[in-house]
């Protein structure tokens, strides 16, 4: 038996705000979360900007030295085994569970599962291995593994929340959050779980950001107002971001959900370790599969939250994929990449942007493309608003792509669509 999948809770701890209200305000007013940062104190590094979560100081490798905004605190025994992005995840999941109204009994009844997405914490891995090597490989911190490897979010959150259903982490680079959500949809649609908690998060520090500079993937602009400019001809790389987002899915909810998750699709490029297929071949198929999975056609889509990260190759490939899918629709969906505001949250991005699609539907807004002043010719014919507008959004499509050519798309729809 197939079940409808309702999105009943959202939680945000991101560069563009902590909490639904702050994030919505940022989308409406195009308030950027990108800041000048000093990733390595005392050393000049090529990357000057990042999407950071305001008010959290989680730069130490000792969680007991971390500081948080007023009103946010954590139990010491919870902190000992988590990476920096674990605190963002705890904040986000608390908000999402709260606004979904799930009780502790429901969370622990075996019918609630947890999917997470995170690439782990390179900073923690580096620290613990360096310390182990300093002691001639004699002395390993017992929390070194659970606080650092990919999977750290599902280890920690499942134990903290008392999850007794499905518990799994997803690793497909920048498509991880989208895979976590897509497979959570399946768990509910197929009747395996009644509720799914989906959480994605990433650190934002020298260890998580600077390795991408070696790939020449990052913007080296020092102006936070210009560095991330998806679809603009002047784009020169992405701006990395940290944070966390949580989403609650429920089977056939008895009250009106924030939005419905109607379906999803995925397809890989079969092309390159890191570069997208130049014509967006895999992303085209992933979008078509997602739309078909929801029982819709491309003409039904009102809004697309693009993956576009502000890289030269990636944004062009996505523009061509969007032309493939929507070129024959009239007038075609409005399309924006919100990474101009948030930066690129890597494993986090797919879930963040699915949550932004849910807000677009729930708040009747079309987020604008921040920093887009001179659109790439490849986008000709695509509707790329530069300001956020008020408009009913019945159907939204969320795109994401990751290394290895993974492409994952979701379709969300308004409760009003029935």
């Amino acid at each position: 038996m197939s079940h409808r999948v309702g999105i009943t809770g959202l939680g945000f701890c991101t560069s563009i705000g902590t909490g639904i209200k702050a994030v919505t305000d940022s989308l409406i007013n195009l308030r950027s979360g990108i800041r000048r940062v000093n990733l390595v104190p005392g050393i000049e590094v090529p990357v000057k900007v990042a999407g950071v979560v305001d008010g959290f100081d989680v730069g130490s490798t000792n969680p007991l030295a971390w500081t948080f905004p007023d009103g946010i605190e954590f139990d010491r025994t919870l902190l000992r085994s988590i990476p920096p992005h674990g605190v963002y995840a705890l904040v986000a999941v608390r908000e999402a569970l709260d606004n979904a109204g799930l009780s502790d009994a429901e969370i622990r009844d075996g019918d609630t599962g947890l999917h997470t997405a995170s690439s782990g914490s390179a900073m923690m891995t580096h620290h613990h291995l360096a310390r182990l090597e300093e002691t001639d490989w004699q002395r390993a911190n017992p929390n070194g593994i659970v606080s650092s490897i990919a999977g750290t979010l599902n280890f920690n959150l499942a134990a903290h929340l008392g999850i007794r259903g499905n518990n799994c982490g997803f690793v497909s680079a920048c498509a991880s959050g989208s895979h976590a959500l897509g497979h959570a949809f399946d768990e509910i649609a197929l009747g395996r779980q009644k509720r799914m908690i989906v959480v994605a998060g990433e650190d934002c520090n020298a260890h998580s950001v600077l390795p991408f500079d070696g790939m020449r993937a990052l913007s080296t602009d020092s102006d936070p107002a210009k560095a991330s400019r998806p679809f603009d001809v002047g784009r020169n790389g992405f701006v990395a971001a940290g944070g966390s987002v949580a989403m609650i899915l429920e089977a056939d909810p008895s009250t009106e959900p924030v939005a419905w998750l109607g379906g999803w699709g995925q397809a890989a490029d079969g092309h390159s370790i890191a570069a997208p297929h130049p014509e967006g071949e895999g992303l085209t198929r992933a979008m078509n599969r997602a739309i078909h999975s929801a029982g819709l056609c491309s003409q039904n889509v009102d809004y697309v939250n693009a993956h576009a990260t502000s890289t030269i190759a990636g944004d062009k490939a996505e523009a061509l994929a969007l032309q493939n899918v929507f070129g024959n629709t009239d007038p075609g969906p409005q399309i924006s990449s919100t990474k101009g505001l948030s930066g690129h949250g890597l494993s986090l991005s797919g879930l963040l942007e699915a949550a932004i699609c849910a807000l677009a539907i729930n708040q009747s807004i079309i987020p604008g493309n921040a920093n887009l002043t001179n659109p790439d010719p490849a986008t000709t014919g695509l509707r790329l608003p530069t300001k956020t507008s008020s408009a009913a959004v019945r159907v939204a499509l969320n795109n994401s792509s990751g290394f290895g050519g993974s492409n994952v798309c979701h379709v969300l729809s308004s409760p009003a669509t029935g």
Binding site: S60, N62, P63, L64, A65, D75, R76, T77, R80, S81, Q138, R139, A140, N141, P142, N143
Partner: protein, 119 residues
Amino acid sequence: MNDPLHAHSPEALREELTGFPESTIQAMVELKSNPSPGAIEESVLRILEFYLPSGSETQIVGTAAETRLREDLGIDSLTFAEAAFKLEELFAIRIEHSELVDLETVGSLRQFIESRIAS
């Protein structure tokens, strides 16, 4: 008696114990200049108290020797390993897995401190 914390300056001790109660940090700093067996035992037990489950009002210092560490105080295996790692870092010792397994009560813990750290 040798300085049991020879690898640490007072500043390094404070860094190593970031997040611990100030009274525990102070006791460890004072231990450097006055490393009597009694002071070592009390300091180590104060450090272990930090690893008790949250909300626990238990004080290991002054607790009866037969009090069981796992069953009565709620110290789980990961917490035990975490506390052992901290003692290894502070006192530059190596604690074998078999030694941890044998630590069942507060009394056996005191004997362990006496033989492996305070001696």
